[in-house]
């Protein structure tokens, strides 16, 4: 389980708690990462501006990772989708690959198509798996009702590579249950966090995030877990999205790797839980369903 780690912009420049908790938990579970030098943005926004420049940016990062001879690991769902889409085009269109490689050559890079692109959800669920995760737990979250938030780009578009069912994803549900917690079905499961709207219609984006948090809170679920830095930021900063929809929101929202780390007995400060804005401290102190309702 050795991977070339491509973090992307959001994690590199802001979502430190995701990187801390992911590195802490995944390395203890047997994953190894090679940090990559010189990478750039994955190109997710450039897709709307110039499809060729988008392919170039994605290919550049894949090419850097390919020099390690390893498969690529992403923690961000946006990076996952972007790299997969570019790989899909470049592996099937020799002419486009030639054009992209002509631009990459100025930095001495070449896209070869030798590395697979994987996301943290597959790593946790398929590579590490139930047994290894459960053997590492020192406590469980019995009775805690957790809403899994997959994020659009973790499961779509499936045409370029599916890590889970696009309409009925289950892997994050499984991962929650492996910690002893419950992952009840909830109607808003596939709803978007609204993050891509911040570039043009920020109020609509915050409304979308607020409505999802509100629905989960009113549905009686006690926490939400994410696997993407953009989703986490939208859903965790509930003062903004709560104000936008005129609701009082207070739902603990955390990265799956933070919840996993707590169950593994890792120091909450090493998991970056002090950077979450939503009330995650109640999960650190979680003593079971009886204590929570008392």
């Amino acid at each position: 389980m050795k991977y070339a780690l491509y973090l992307g912009c959001a994690i590199t420049t802001e979502a430190y708690s995701y990187e801390m908790s992911a590195r802490e938990t995944l390395t203890r579970l047997g994953a190894e990462f090679v940090d990559l030098p010189g990478y750039s943005c994955c190109g997710v926004t450039v897709r709307s501006i110039n499809p060729f420049a988008f392919l170039y940016l994605a290919a550049r990062n894949i090419a850097i990772a390919e020099t390690t001879g390893l498969d690529i690991m992403t923690f961000c769902t946006g990076c996952r989708m972007t790299l997969l889409e570019a790989k899909h085009v470049l592996d099937h269109n020799a002419k486009m690959r030639e054009r992209v490689n002509a631009v990459l050559a100025s930095e001495g890079l070449e896209y070869k198509g030798t590395s697979k692109i994987k996301h943290i959800l597959e790593l946790l669920h398929d590579d590490i798996g139930k047994e290894r995760i459960q053997n590492a737990l020192v406590r469980t979250f019995n009775g805690l009702k957790v809403a899994p938030h997959y994020g659009c780009h973790a499961i779509r578009p499936s045409a370029v590579g599916a890590q889970d069912d696009a309409e009925n994803p289950q892997k994050l549900d499984d991962l929650i249950r492996w910690l002893g917690a419950e992952a009840p079905r909830y109607p808003q499961k596939l709803d978007c966090c609204g993050a891509p709207l911040l570039l043009k219609n920020d109020n609509a984006g915050f409304t979308m995030a607020g409505q999802k948090v509100k629905a989960i809170q009113e549905g009686g679920l006690q926490a939400m877990v994410t696997i993407c830095p953009s989703c986490q930021k939208m859903l965790d900063t509930q003062d903004i999205c709560g104000r936008t929809i005129g609701a009082n929101l207070s739902l603990p929202v955390l990265y799956y790797t933070q919840l996993l780390g707590l169950a593994m007995g890792i120091d909450p400060d090493k998991l970056g839980l002090g950077m979450n804005v939503s009330p995650v401290k109640q999960l650190v102190e979680w003593k079971g369903p009886a204590a929570a309702s008392a």
Binding site: Y16, S40, A53, Y56, L57, M96, S106, C152, S158, G194
Partner: protein, 186 residues
């Protein structure tokens, strides 16, 4: 940003760009004429429909009927969240999101104003290859309750990765940005 858009739109001779653009639009239109049934499954699941009145099936119909100029000038193509539900759910495997992304890139190539958020990201990428410099984040220790601002180093994380030779990266990125959207005969 006006300068950037000028550079991008004057990359190749206007005639060549126009010819390639027409070809791409035509290919996309042929695909939709043959395939889209106007079943409205895309709009039924569209998250931007609820809040921003984006109706992907209408975009498909307008595009198919040749209202390309109207769509290019319309704000509606910039309301898509790119959630890819329409691509997933289309029974005919034609995706409104692909049409919308194509229209966006053609609008940019024509030098139409890029929404400020997109322009900001593009400028940052051209300057440094990543969306922003690593920021300081407020940390309230769970153990001690002490508040402080912290960075990657303070979190015990390795230095931020970024293009080593920024000038070389800029040249290559600009080269990519000024190339035609699609190749001949694609």
């Amino acid at each position: 940003m006006a300068k950037l858009v000028d550079q991008m739109s004057s990359a190749e001779s206007t005639k060549d760009v126009y010819r390639l653009e027409q070809k791409m639009l035509q290919q996309m239109q042929e695909q939709i004429t043959d395939q889209c049934l106007q079943c409205v499954k895309c709009t039924a699941g569209c998250p931007a429909m609820k809040l921003l009145e984006l109706h992907p099936h209408e975009v498909m119909a307008l595009f198919n009927l040749g209202f390309t100029e109207e769509l290019l000038k319309s704000d509606v193509i910039w309301t898509c969240i790119t959630c890819f539900k329409c691509k997933e759910r289309c029974p005919q495997k034609v995706a409104p999101v692909d049409v919308i992304l194509l229209l966006r890139s053609i609008a940019v190539q024509r030098g139409m104003p890029l929404p400020a958020g997109f322009a900001g990201v593009l400028q940052a990428l051209m300057d440094k290859g990543i969306i922003q410099e690593p920021v300081e984040v407020l940390l309230k220790s769970v153990n001690t309750g002490k508040k402080k601002f912290t960075d990657r180093k303070g979190c015990g994380l390795p230095d931020a990765s970024r293009p080593k030779d920024v000038e070389k990266f800029k040249d290559a990125f600009m080269n990519a940005l000024t190339q035609a959207l699609a190749e001949e005969g694609a």
